[in-house]
């Protein structure tokens, strides 16, 4: 029988999976690895009660018996889910679709290739099929009440050991789920300038902060703020790009934004071709003024 298992790595994964599960059109269960269950409309929710996500080699092995019998195994796309689910696909000797953005049928999916420059339709010919998907591309369907809830104890033995983890330490909204995102690029000069100009603007509007690879490479912004082909994919109502040229690799992460606003001193910057609203100007004068105007 065809059935989907959603593997929820964190507390919000299950709720953001409902749109995908609906598009797939199969009944589904949830395996909640960390955190408590949230209403998701799933059949059975199994809580694994892990304190944190262990290294992929051990976790994927521990997941193997729990995924048996499912035709589809899926999680929202993240570095964490790609790390573990691709290892699981290797153990099961099966195929995988990364970053699904559309469901054509239960064996056919759409996904971006070449940094989002094109969309490929992938035909799947294996069982089970492992998928990571981008929740922003599927409806935010309302969740109904849960069915059954059970718990399982996952015994994970990894060869790799986690020695330390940098804490998030940010009170700002989560980049991948924020309604407003303001991002800065290379012209922000240094970390302090980035924090005061981009961070200050974000805090005034309750927005999340993003950055380009160039800003991350230059040490201006933290790596978990990077948006793009190899960073995070965002889908806010409002994306403000300040001092960003608009490389294909950056655009790959912002295409699903409802309104893209570009502020750039160069009237020929490629970002203006992709932006819904563009203003030629210096971000250091435009952002403070824009903040005042938007707060009115």
């Amino acid at each position: 029988m065809s059935k989907l298992l959603v593997i929820a790595f964190d507390a919000t994964d299950a709720a953001t999976s409902f749109g995908f599960a609906h598009a797939l059109g199969l009944p589904f269960d949830v395996l909640q690895l960390t955190g408590l269950s949230v209403p998701s409309g799933a059949g059975t929710v199994t809580l694994a009660n892990l304190g944190s996500i262990p290294p992929a080699d051990g976790l994927a092995k521990a997941l193997q018996p729990l995924v048996a019998g499912y035709s589809h195994i899926a999680s929202p796309s993240s570095m964490g889910s790609k790390d573990v689910l691709a290892y699981l696909a290797g153990l099961l000797d099966t195929g995988m679709v990364t970053d699904a953005i559309g469901v054509v049928s239960p064996t056919e999916f759409k996904r971006p290739i070449y940094a989002g420059a094109m969309t490929a339709t992938i035909k799947v010919n294996c069982d089970p099929i492992i998928i990571t998907f981008r929740p922003g591309n599927f409806g935010k369907d309302a969740a109904s009440a849960n069915g059954n809830e059970s718990t399982t104890s996952l015994n994970v033995t990894s060869q790799a050991t986690i020695l330390s983890e940098s804490s998030k330490g940010s009170a700002r909204p989560d980049l991948s789920q924020a309604a407003i995102v303001v991002s800065g690029g290379r012209p922000l000069k240094d970390a302090a300038t980035f924090e005061s100009v981009i961070g200050g603007f974000a805090d005034a509007l309750g927005a999340a902060v993003g950055a380009t690879r160039a800003a991350v490479d230059a040490g201006i912004a933290a790596n978990d703020l990077q948006v793009g082909q190899t960073g995070k994919v965002v889908a806010p109502n409002l994306y403000i790009a300040a001092g960003i040229s608009g490389s294909t690799q950056h655009m790959a992460g912002i295409k699903d934004s409802k309104l893209i606003v570009a502020i750039n001193t160069d009237t020929n910057a490629p970002i203006f071709d992709a932006a819904d609203l563009g203003l030629v100007g210096d971000l250091f004068t435009v952002l403070p003024e824009l903040q005042r105007e938007l707060k009115q």
Binding site: P55, A56, D57, M79, K82, D83, A86, Y87, A89, G90, T94, G95, M96, T98, D99, E108, P112, I113, Y114, A115, A117, M118, T119, A120, T121, I122, V124, N125, S158, A160, T161, L163, S164, E165, S166, S167, K168, I180, L205, R213, V216, D217, N223, D224, Q229, N237, L238, Q249, K255, I260, V261, F272, A274, D276, L277, G278, L279, V286, L290, L294
Partner: protein, 245 residues
């Protein structure tokens, strides 16, 4: 310690590519090809480990058509010692590539496999993990810093919320992120020297039938053309009008 570095030949990531007119695939006519940027970072890291006296031999391997020789030669020019081309004209998916690479890994018995986290053409982010699973080795994906001491690796890896430091017993698979290093510029003497380094070509013995295949390629929906505004006031008004705030 021997290092194995799988590299993929990809279209230059800065080139503009389009779907074929009939939508059956990607039109790469006239495109420039490069080593996948993440794999170039893996080669660079391997060469640095050799310069530090930690690695003794660097073997690069590519699976694909005869043209992959160009990218293998480039890797040799960066500083790899030996190259293997697993030749096939079959259309490969990630499980098939991982299976062929695991055969090479079993034969070469490297202490460490360093490779890109994703190929910039298919953006799959799968082969490294699948290869680690097939070999039963631990992995550290998205590496931003690699330190080898004796028989273990300490890797700082990028995660969704920041960074994580993991310790891995070797052998292991490490996949690279952009921040790991900046590949060196290769000057002419290096390229000439690389011509005499060993490059072995062998046909792929058996290629698995694909579990996933591309049935169509299209352009993504285009956004309606945007609007230039003349002032901050106009911009703020337009943002409010669109209900984005």
């Amino acid at each position: 310690m021997k290092l194995l570095v799988p590299i993929k030949r990809v279209v230059d990531p800065y080139a503009k590519v389009r779907p074929l007119a009939d939508g059956s695939g990607v039109d790469t006519t006239g495109a420039k090809f490069e080593i996948n940027p993440f794999d170039e970072i893996a080669v660079e890291e391997a060469v640095r480990l050799k310069e530090k006296g930690i690695a003794t031999e660097i073997v690069v391997v590519s699976v694909g058509g005869p043209q992959c020789e160009d990218q293998l030669r480039k890797a040799l020019a960066i500083g790899a010692d030996r190259a293997i081309l697993i030749e096939t004209d079959a259309v490969l998916d990630s499980p098939a590539v991982a299976a062929l690479l695991s055969d090479v890994a079993l034969a070469e018995a490297p202490g460490l496999i360093l490779m890109g986290k994703q190929a910039t053409d298919d953006d799959c982010n799968q082969v490294g993990q699948m290869l680690a699973a097939k070999l039963g080795w631990p992995q550290a994906t998205f590496a931003a810093k690699v330190e080898i001491t004796g028989n273990s690796a300490q890797v700082t890896r990028e995660i969704d919320s920041g960074e994580q430091v993991v310790a891995l017993p070797l052998p292991a698979v490490i996949t690279t992120d952009l921040r790991l290093n900046e590949p060196r510029y290769v000057a002419l003497p290096g390229i000439i020297k690389a011509r005499s380094k060993p490059l072995e070509k062998r046909p792929a013995t058996s290629v698995q039938s694909p579990k996933t295949s591309v049935s169509a390629v299209e352009l993504p929906p285009t956004r309606p053309p945007g609007r230039r505004v003349g002032s901050v006031q106009e911009l703020a008004a337009a943002i409010k009008e669109r209900g984005a705030i």
